[in-house]
């Protein structure tokens, strides 16, 4: 997989920039979306290797996005990682049931975020070739 393409879904421009810059500087390609609906539209136009999404956003929240994406055939295996301040067990379990791959609780440290993203991408590469 050359240059994985990541969709970053986040309504806060400040956080979105931080996440995107972190990933871009590590050689990853990034597309930004500012809420779930925006992300869904972009996901239908391109095939992303990983989706990194906030939960609380206007128009469409993160878990709804996960459910929508999982209904699209080519996104059934794509890792979707939530990046959110929500940390309750109820929420994480809901995330798991919706089909999220993982859940990272904010605040995050950019370096750790990058490592998680890389490890998820690598395991996908190993599992699916």
């Amino acid at each position: 997989m050359s240059r994985p393409l990541i969709l970053v879904v986040e309504d806060s421009a400040a956080i979105r920039s931080l996440v995107c810059d972190t990933l871009v500087q590590a050689g990853l390609n990034v597309v930004e979306a500012e809420d779930g609906l925006d992300a869904l539209q972009r996901a239908r136009r391109a095939r992303f290797d990983l989706v990194l999404s906030d939960q609380n956003m206007p128009r469409m929240d993160g878990l709804s996005l996960v459910r929508e994406l999982r209904r699209i055939e080519c996104y059934q295996q794509v890792p979707i990682v939530m990046l959110t301040t929500e940390a309750s067990t109820d929420m994480t379990q809901a995330g798991r049931l919706a089909g999220a791959t993982g859940w990272i609780v904010k605040p995050f440290e950019p370096r750790r975020l990058l490592r998680v993203v890389q490890q998820v991408l690598q395991s996908v590469a190993v599992l699916h070739g």
Binding site: T89, P107, E109, Q119, S123
Partner: protein, 676 residues
């Protein structure tokens, strides 16, 4: 990525936006007809402020937002109903947030007291221990039932992965906990269905910026103040230069930016200047082709279009600077509650048109005058409850604050249903202060006196609206903003204060004049008329001062060229009649060039602190014009005249008229009651 400051300032902009939304929503939370949607919106906005604050290391903001969010959460779930106490505490928290954001934007360390008080109040109210949620594996019973291995750095993986909990759900259920580092990939490869990673502890200096986790500062409110401020200096990056984000491989989506762009207001000013440059170019083109009729026939349609597009560009750029007035209004609800409680006068404030949009810079500077007027109405306007009952008025004093846009201006009015202004007491006080005012002066002239320095109709200076500051400060602020304030009153029914302001501070409509070879701009709002000095019959009165008679009233004349150097000689040919709340006078200038829409710039270098000048602007061919403060001019010109010997009437001087008019040149502020 070696510096977080770019993100922090973007975050502060976002937080300020959420704050404005909250300021619009929170005052209505305690109302019986509050919409659940609004409660949810308030929660989401506060949640966003908190989330970003945590990521960008803004501990104080995160703490305020955390306790506020907790209360809003209870409200949205219906676990508690909002009374005025709740909405009050939230407004206090919003004010604390506003102050912190303002301080951070100025590069200062935020004051601690306000946030601390707001946090403690909300913490007590919601019964929280006021500590931020610390993530503990034990909080995740569903995930951590089995094989939970609490991670400690000593027992953990590589040193640089200290901290952070990962939970993995293996196939078939159950959960394992582990530091996320090396386990993540293994777990995923091993078929883990899901992982959860919780924030870890502060990491040592690394190449990437270090984000400060929120310290547990308010676990014990008493100890909090002794804790040091969190280290927030990001470490310098020692990472490789950023890779160019090259073209994407084929078939992939183009790198689309998100749909919102935030820009610094300085960039908008730059755009505005460009737009003004276009209007000047239009003027020059118009001018240059004026006498070539053949050419004009061909280019006129193009010129028309050029002019129209320039105007559109101008207003499009202006619109970018506008924000709703909510920002200035929301504090007032709480102020009314506080002050009416202190004075023992029950009162209510209704807001209308809080979504009216005005220049952001204006909104920020309007906050103080509005607070002052509200205080004044409560203190002097609204009667005591028993008096109101006796008068058959509702026991609660009613204040209505409204705003609307009218013809390029914003009109803000504060009305009360109190006693109204007392003509006799104002006249009495005016005489005591030596303000020249006839007994039969118009009501408007009498009311205007309350904006004079040192004016107060109450015998004892009240600690509430007093504070040693009078309404003169309100008028001064308004005039500084290019606006005006006037008051109307009906005895026994109440008073109405009306503020009129330009929609923006960035552009000033002015009359361009020259005097002594320099260009000056006079705000159009104060220019009543212009006249020819030769026909105006200027006469000299005592002390070599000059005056004209305008509509039967004597008006002092000041020579603009005397602002910085005393000149004598023939009176300059053009008289600009300047009228504002403080009085009417004529300003003698060499030439009037007409109206000019100026992009206002601050004063720089040697111009800074120049008396009588509020700003500068560029007027064609790179020439600078000084924007004059009409109110300050008479005093300054008199001063300049006093320093140099008073000029004797020169040979070419217009001879005084034979009329024995005694011109009351006490001060322009004495000349109240101009016609307009």
């Amino acid at each position: 990525m070696d510096d977080l400051s770019a993100y922090v300032s973007a975050y502060l902009d976002e937080a300020a936006e959420h704050l404005r939304e909250l300021q619009g929503l929170v005052p209505s939370l305690a109302r019986s007809d509050v919409r659940l949607d609004d409660v949810h919106a308030a929660f989401r906005a506060m949640h966003s402020i908190k989330g970003g604050a945590a990521i960008f290391g803004q501990a104080t903001m995160a703490d305020i937002a955390h306790v506020s969010e907790h209360l809003l959460d209870a409200l949205r779930k219906g676990a508690r109903a909002a009374t005025e106490d709740e909405s009050d505490a939230l407004i206090q928290a919003l004010e604390a947030l506003e102050d912190v954001i303002a301080a951070l934007r100025r590069g200062e360390t935020p004051e601690r007291g306000g946030p601390q008080r707001a946090i403690e109040r909300l913490a007590v109210m919601t019964g929280q221990t006021a500590g931020l949620a610390r993530h503990d594996p034990a909080d995740f019973p569903g995930l951590a039932e089995s094989a939970l291995l609490p991670f400690t750095p000593a027992a953990g993986a590589a040193d640089d992965d200290a901290g952070g909990f990962g939970f993995f759900v293996p196939p078939g259920g159950g959960a394992v906990a582990a530091p996320e580092a090396d386990y993540l990939q293994d777990a995923l490869l091993g078929g883990a269905e899901f992982f959860v990673i919780l924030p870890g502890e502060l990491e040592p200096d690394t190449g990437l910026p270090m984000l400060t986790p929120m310290p547990d500062r308010f676990a014990s409110p008493k100890a909090a103040s002794t804790l040091p401020a969190p280290a927030s200096a990001p470490s310098r990056a020692a990472i490789e230069p950023p890779l160019p984000s090259g073209p994407l491989s084929s078939g992939q989506a183009p790198m689309l930016p998100a749909d919102t762009v935030r820009v610094a207001s300085a960039r908008l000013d730059g755009l505005l200047e460009l737009a003004s440059g276009f209007s000047q170019l239009y003027g020059q083109l118009e001018d240059a082709t004026r006498h070539d009729y053949v050419l004009r026939q061909r280019v006129d349609p193009v010129l028309d279009q050029f002019e129209r597009m320039t105007r559109e560009l101008h207003s499009a750029v202006m619109a970018l600077r506008l924000v709703p007035l909510n920002f200035a209004f929301s504090r007032l609800t709480r102020l009314v509650r506080e002050v009416s409680a202190q004075l023992g006068k029950p009162a209510q404030l209704a807001l209308r048109g809080a979504d009216t949009e005005v220049d952001k810079a204006l909104v920020e500077r309007l906050s103080d005058p509005l607070m002052h007027l509200v205080r004044n109405s409560l203190d002097h306007g609204i009667e005591q409850a028993d008096v109101r009952r006796a008068l058959g008025k509702p026991e609660h004093g009613q204040l209505v604050l409204s705003a609307e846009q009218r013809a390029g201006q914003v009109v803000i009015a504060l009305e009360d249903d109190g006693a109204g202004l007392s003509r006799s007491r104002i006249l009495e006080r005016a005489h005591a202060l030596g303000i020249a005012l006839a007994e039969d002066a118009s009501d408007e002239a009498v009311w205007q006196c309350i904006f004079e320095p040192g004016f107060s109709t109450t015998a004892s200076v009240n600690a509430m609206s007093g504070r040693g500051v009078g309404l003169d400060v309100v008028r001064q602020t308004l005039q500084g903003l290019g606006g005006r304030v006037r008051v109307t009153s009906r005895a026994g029914k109440g008073a109405r204060f009306e503020l009129r302001l330009p929609l923006t501070l960035a552009v000033l409509d002015g009359m361009l004049v020259t005097a002594g070879g320099d260009h000056y701009l006079l705000p159009v709002a104060v220019v009543q008329e212009s006249m020819d000095a030769r026909t105006a019959s200027v006469h000299t009165v005592a002390g070599g001062r000059e005056a004209i008679s305008l509509h039967g009233r004597p008006i002092p004349v000041y020579r603009l060229e005397n602002l910085y150097a005393s000149q004598s000689g023939p009176i300059p040919p053009v008289l600009m009649v300047i009228a504002d709340e403080a009085g009417t006078y004529a300003l003698a200038v060499d030439e009037l060039h007409g109206q000019h829409s100026a992009v206002v710039k601050g004063l720089e270098g040697r111009l800074r602190g120049l008396p009588g000048v509020t700003g500068s602007t560029v007027v064609g061919a790179g020439r600078t014009a000084l924007i004059l403060d009409p109110q300050a001019l008479p005093g300054l010109i008199r001063q300049a005249g006093a320093q140099h010997a008073p000029p004797p009437a020169g040979p070419g001087h217009v001879q005084p008229e034979a009329s024995g008019d005694e011109i009351p040149l006490v001060s322009t502020s004495a000349l109240v009651g101009h016609d307009d």
